[in-house]
């Protein structure tokens, strides 16, 4: 199934497009052409599918979470992306883009990372496909996430701490873009989410849409029908768009994106970009973003590093504006409660990102009623979050022992 959107210049309605230096426009045109030709070439798509199957471990399971369902008050199906190689849906995107990098004859890959998950996934794909890998990471994050820095280095990547701006994810993206302007001849920028200038939002969506395509087929097999709703967390929005893409034409399936409400939306300390509802331009596309009166980007706040980004992919902005999908925030506290709930009821420790989707599902189930079946993207596993969880729940004592 091919989506009608975006248009040729990458617009989803009034969102998307390209707001980037002219120097990158011709390279983005080349990338667009290379990607479209690759997706029409069975050699490429077969190899991508083989890698996903034999290396990443897809299709991921669709799991009927009966004990969780009892508590939620509706039937919950979990799309187990946490079981993929490297522990999240992100492996789909990085394998797709890394394979495309090889096809374009480029030898070097750069990436941004917040907490390090996309950096680790990119380093993994580059090791697997023998590509040079450089990861930009805010200096603040390199200090908070030393273990992921070690993982990337072990996988052969170079990690460059970014010391400008807020020294976090958005500044890592800025620095990767600065590298790319100077290196685009031999370098691909492997963007980690369905945001950025065209073709990134559409390209990343198409590389991760296996989440929803698989889940749709698995739902039909399990239920004999489609679920009533599909739910995913939204930071930049790649796992959500990967889940939603298959269901957008199925208008009977309600779509819910769960944003990071941080300390509570009303406190102003959150990452609920769509809920905040201000349109603007950041990192190459028009979408919703957190900004002040002068259009300066405001720093986001979330306990989940993967959702802690002041922008969101433009297709989500379009799905929100058209009403096809609904976006709502859940707080740090609600997400952490849901993390523990899933651990205790199903023996699954989710990523804090994915725990937001569970928390949202608890609310949505009340609205849809006990007969509803809700498909939830369990986008990643929680191993990476054990320090945060241990601290939150008081599981680690002053000597750092559990």
């Amino acid at each position: 199934m091919t989506a009608v959107l975006p248009d040729q210049l990458g617009h989803f309605g009034r969102f998307g497009g390209r707001f980037l230096p002219e120097a990158l426009i011709a390279p983005l045109d080349e990338l667009t052409t290379a990607w479209q030709q690759a997706m029409a070439d069975k050699t490429f798509t077969d190899e991508f599918e083989r890698m996903l199957r034999e290396y990443a471990g897809t299709p991921s399971l669709l799991y009927d979470a009966t004990r969780l369902s009892d508590i939620v008050g509706a039937r919950v199906l979990l799309k187990r992306e946490d079981l993929n190689h490297t522990g999240a849906h992100k492996i789909r995107n990085v394998l797709g883009q890394a394979l495309l990098t090889k096809r374009m004859g480029k030898t070097r890959v750069i990436a941004e990372t917040g907490a390090g998950q996309h950096g680790v996934a990119t380093a993994t794909a580059c090791a697997y496909l023998d590509l040079e890998c450089v990861v930009y990471m805010g200096e603040v994050d390199t200090e908070r996430q030393a273990l992921n820095v070690a993982r990337m280095k072990l996988l052969g990547a170079e990690v460059i701490p970014v010391k400008t701006g807020s020294r976090t994810l958005k500044d890592a993206i800025n620095e990767a873009l600065r590298d790319w302007v100077a290196s685009v001849d031999n370098t691909h920028y492997l963007l980690g989410t369905a945001a950025g200038g065209h073709p990134f939002p559409a390209m990343v969506r198409d590389f991760v849409r296996g989440i929803g395509d698989e889940a749709r087929a698995q739902s039909l097999e399990l239920l004999g029908r489609l679920p009533d709703a599909a739910v995913a967390c939204v930071g930049g929005g790649s796992n959500a768009i990967g889940l939603f893409a298959a269901f957008v034409p199925d208008t009977e399936v309600k779509l819910y994106g769960i944003e990071a409400g941080g300390d509570g939306y009303e406190t102003g300390r959150h990452a609920a970009t769509i809920t905040a509802g201000q349109v603007g331009v950041l990192h190459g596309a028009r979408s919703y973003l957190l900004q002040d009166e002068d259009g300066q980007t405001i720093e986001s706040h979330s306990i989940s590093a993967g959702l802690d980004y002041p922008g969101v992919g433009p297709e989500h902005a379009w799905l929100a504006e058209t009403g096809r999908a609904t976006y709502r925030p859940v707080t740090d506290a609600a997400a952490m409660e849901s993390l523990r709930l899933l651990a205790r009821t199903e023996g699954i420790i989710p990523a804090i990102e994915s725990a937001h989707a569970i928390a949202g599902t608890l609310e949505i189930a009340k609205e849809l009623g006990p007969e509803a079946t809700i498909l939830v993207c369990l986008s990643g596993r929680g191993d990476k979050d054990m320090d945060t969880a241990g601290e939150w729940f008081g599981l680690i004592d002053g000597t750092g022992k559990a």
Binding site: R18, A26, D171
Partner: protein, 275 residues
């Protein structure tokens, strides 16, 4: 190019005046609000006193992807000091009142969109500003700005790059008013030791597409480099070097660098520059 005098606008007219003297124009950049709002005004006035032909006032932005570390740091300090867009417009107003030369604002797109494109165009014109240089707005996405600029007779300076195809250079130059900004290298702002071998061919390709003046920026920091670029370009654009001069020597340092660069663009050209 139906009406060349209109397309030349404010900055193009000033550049052609310099070209008529057999030299390239000097375009100088400093961010507003750096190190303070008043200090920034003084520094920009020092460029005027030193002999700059066209001014670019930077609008500091939280996510400047086209800028190297020198201008990034200046923007961070300006914003940390509480700089607002109204302060940028105030800087334009003070400088325009001080100097009889075009004052452009160089800005990333989101602050303008947030302020309101029409409203900004009106307020910029009222402050005596000459137009905008927009490093992350391509004409393909610029319809609203193009309409607002045309209505208020403001310059629209878009960028061309060594990677631009001839088709894109044609599209971009057709949308410019004032001059065309040619980026000399594939990279971000900042001083470079090596002259770019990409700039001269880009200028030639751009001149094949337009009668507008072509300015070359990125990496020019001293009189010798300015003289090299002046041999083939209509205007020489200098930014980061002025920030460094301000950091090292205050407004006096800025004035001294301006005088040196102004000498550079006046060195005798071996061959006349084609229009």
């Amino acid at each position: 190019m139906s009406d060349v005098s209109t397309e030349l606008g404010n900055a193009g007219t000033a550049i052609r005046k310099a070209n008529d003297e057999g030299r390239a124009a000097l375009v100088g950049y400093l961010p507003a609000g750096y190190p303070t709002v008043d200090g920034g005004v003084d520094a920009i006035k020092a460029m005027v006193d030193g002999g700059v032909d066209v001014l670019e006032i930077g609008l500091p932005y939280s996510d400047p992807v086209m800028d190297g570390v020198t201008i990034q740091r200046a923007a961070e300090i300006a914003l940390a000091g509480g700089l607002r867009i109204r302060d940028v417009l105030g800087t334009v107003e003070k400088v325009a009142a001080y100097a009889d030369l075009p004052v452009l604002v160089m800005t990333y797109w989101n602050p303008i969109e947030r302020y309101g494109v029409d409203r900004f165009a009106v307020d910029l014109a009222a402050a005596g500003g000459a137009g905008l240089i927009t490093p992350d707005l391509i004409p393909d996405e610029g319809a609203e700005w193009i309409a607002a600029a045309d209505k208020n007779e403001l310059d629209k300076v878009f960028l061309v790059s060594p990677s631009s195809t001839d088709a894109r250079i044609g599209l971009t130059t057709a949308s410019c008013r004032g001059f065309v900004y040619a980026t000399a290298v594939m990279g971000v702002t900042g001083a470079r030791d090596q002259a770019s071998d990409l700039a001269a061919p880009l200028v030639a390709r751009t001149k094949a597409a337009t009668g507008l003046p072509v300015g070359v920026g990125l990496g020019v920091s001293n009189a010798d480099q300015a003289a090299d670029v002046a041999a083939y370009a209509d205007a020489v654009i200098v930014g980061s070097a002025f920030v460094k001069a301000l950091n090292a020597g205050g407004p006096a340092g800025v004035r001294s660098l301006t005088e040196s660069l102004a000498e550079g663009v006046r060195r005798e050209r071996s061959t006349p520059v084609a229009r």
